[in-house]
Symmetry: C2
Subunit: 514 residues, 2 copies
Amino acid sequence: MEIDNNYTKNRQEMIEKEYLTRIGGELVLTQTEEKVNQILMAAKGKEINDSFYNGVPFPPQLHFFKAKPAMENSTVFQFIKKMPKGGALHLHDCSMTDLRWLVKNATYMNSCYMCYDQDKKINFHFFRSPPEQPGCQWHPVSFYRNQSTNISAFDDMLYQSMSLEVTDPHTSYPTLDAVWKKFEEVLIRANGLINYAPVFAAYYYEALKEFMEDNVQYLEVRALLPEVYDLDGKTYMPVQVMEIYRNTTVKFVQDNPSFTGAKVIKSNIRFKTPAIIKSDIIASAEMMSQFPDHFAGYDLVGQEDPGKPLLYYLDALLYPSSHKPPINLPYFFHAGETDWEGTSTDYNLIDAILLNTTRIGHGYALPKHSEAMKMVKKQQIAVEVNPISNQVLKLVDDLRNHPAAILFEQGFPVVISADDPAVWGAKGLSYDFYEAFMGLAGKDADLKLLKQLAMNSLMYSAMSTKEKVQALDLWSTKWQTFINSTLEEYVRNNNLKTGLVFTHKLQDEIVGRK
Amino acid sequence: MEIDNNYTKNRQEMIEKEYLTRIGGELVLTQTEEKVNQILMAAKGKEINDSFYNGVPFPPQLHFFKAKPAMENSTVFQFIKKMPKGGALHLHDCSMTDLRWLVKNATYMNSCYMCYDQDKKINFHFFRSPPEQPGCQWHPVSFYRNQSTNISAFDDMLYQSMSLEVTDPHTSYPTLDAVWKKFEEVLIRANGLINYAPVFAAYYYEALKEFMEDNVQYLEVRALLPEVYDLDGKTYMPVQVMEIYRNTTVKFVQDNPSFTGAKVIKSNIRFKTPAIIKSDIIASAEMMSQFPDHFAGYDLVGQEDPGKPLLYYLDALLYPSSHKPPINLPYFFHAGETDWEGTSTDYNLIDAILLNTTRIGHGYALPKHSEAMKMVKKQQIAVEVNPISNQVLKLVDDLRNHPAAILFEQGFPVVISADDPAVWGAKGLSYDFYEAFMGLAGKDADLKLLKQLAMNSLMYSAMSTKEKVQALDLWSTKWQTFINSTLEEYVRNNNLKTGLVFTHKLQDEIVGRK
């Protein structure tokens, strides 16, 4: 029937037109990549069909704490784990590394002490000999550990004390403020371990290692550069803490030449006075020239809704650009991490853009701003999307409703990151990549999306052009290896001469669900 | 400081540019409307600030069952209730009228019987004398009512048996499929009462009355035109059921000259065979000419994910346009009522547009389709957004994450409707308008949005141009009265000479939350 043919042709054209506008839509895959794409899409199709047709719980729809075991069993997740994912551009200093590592290492050190404060909450600190402290009496962690009947249960308890993980997150964290309160509490507790100089460097080294093991080759870290201390009573000032970051990064890259490196984005808390922020900005600009290869710029962090808006710090934030001559300090502002349209938090998006931010942290509210959308696209301001963070910190439940789905659809400069993976029991980037690929993107989003996201994470990094070329070159080699080995493994496991055992279809059959 | 002034100017321009692109953004308010807008925005600002700053639970964030009492106490809700809202364009025949009316009227009729089936579930039917029916023994409702010790509790039980309302919806309805199963069950139960001819007409008359009392002047009803029966054994065929709709509408408008009227959109279930749909389309096209003032077009309804996609019925759906000469049967397709991007349900959006749909029912997935977005805007295909329905039927929890927020932002042709208000204990349009105004739109969306939504509901209706002119004229008079009386009441209550006691600011102060 002629009309039907016409109809089908128009329909296919429209679908393909939409496909082209998406992130990665314009990439052209090699023949080998195409075969690997078919392997990937068979797995993805199966996992989605299991849920769509047969009601198997769909991980991106569930809270991460409940979804994690199913994710880890997923073929798509295993694929993503092995995939070279480029860089992780949105991470925070004190929540990058597996908390089990922190328990197994930091709390087993002889000088590690803990006490129970008046709220019966654990505090950690390192001492040669602890001070008398009424209301929180210090004992070596080993003292408590030896008292416990079950060391493994004791260590689990320490882990839990620094984690947001619970059995029933909806009951434990009824509101966004409630989860943020607990979030800040566990971060402060972990800092009792992390900010001890010997742990500090080792913790950061371990972070680099874990991300490398997750096939991430580059990090950018929002770092408070806090006061780090040692047993000799020495307190490390921000510049000295920055030196620890630089030296540890250099050492790690020496140890692992296939790792690109890392940079620090100095951050301060968005509850400080404008005067403090201004002097911090001046100090940061100095570090920018002092650590040209390892210091990337500046940001304000902390819960955005109750925090001060960017506008509150306008004078300080305009200081570098209005200085004569202008001072170089790129911004990487958290902005629009909110469900509250039309509030001060929401308008941080506008200010981040007008303050010439290099990237936007979260930008959760961005699709609700038509003009900001245009400018972000035109000026290629990358949006750092952290799906699991937004879910755990209660901006959205079902990740298929994450607004960045719109950014995916319209081909925005997006990078996927993990924010504070340790606190919710994630590791590296793979969990967030899985949520992005399965939940934020549709059933027919394929290897092109994943490839583009990986490339974006290097292209929109704070690296110099020269560094980017090297990083992309390195990534490209890893990618080729990954593509070839994935196909080889598939052919081997399936006793095939070719990986092409089926043809992926861009759209569903017309049979409906049952 | 010069730079700051420039900055502030640029910022304001950007915010105003965004504001202009929104639904209603280009409307110019009269001086009196401007004053009423300030009254409205003071109330809205207070309600949002109570939540944003002080953590008062925010109704659009909560499940409707939990939010309803707070909504009813809201000043904004009371404002919206009184506001002339135009038409309700997305409603279903058997869930428009308060179930308490159904209990108080239908179940008190002498010929109303009920039985408990093998699953101990209630069935209703009307008989002169009931048949013997093993497994479900019919008794007059009055028999059970008289046996009960508490008539009010008994009537409540009947109400509950036809409602989705529960104390803890997240536990009662863990999945979308679970809530749809219950939804279909309660609708079928209510149909046992509604499809009895004397109830059928009265139920529909009551629907018109309830919407009129909610200051809605026009309805379009998705109607299955089911088999309606009476005690004489007569079964009314679809055309005769359509006559009931027409006659009741005509009678209602005679009784209430300030009401515009209503039209029927014939609907069938998206699980039927293509042959059945084709003959239904042919029959519908005939009714289209038989009832030119009361029959508007055609749709397919029922849970969309498991249902057949539009493509499955392509041949039938293309029949009217491919007929020579073409047959007039406008479509009003439900499409994209899903979280599942890239599936058959999701692609219904593409087909609805290519099949030349006049409006889209729900279009929940629309913002995930860039090409479809363009066409919907260009061809002015109105999107019927039903916020509470989408929440209760589990597409989204927090209504601030409803994707239609994007359509609001980008000035799409949107109408707000109520879908099946009776089943979740809503009434009229006000509850959905409140959710749209407070949840889908931002803090600074104002009277212009509400006014545009009201006008959209008439402009994008299935009325003829002549009918639209009359309807808008009527609405305009109601609107003037509403604006004037709102201002007068405010001035009176506040002992003022003018309503202008404060100045609404387009954006937040820069103080942050606390």
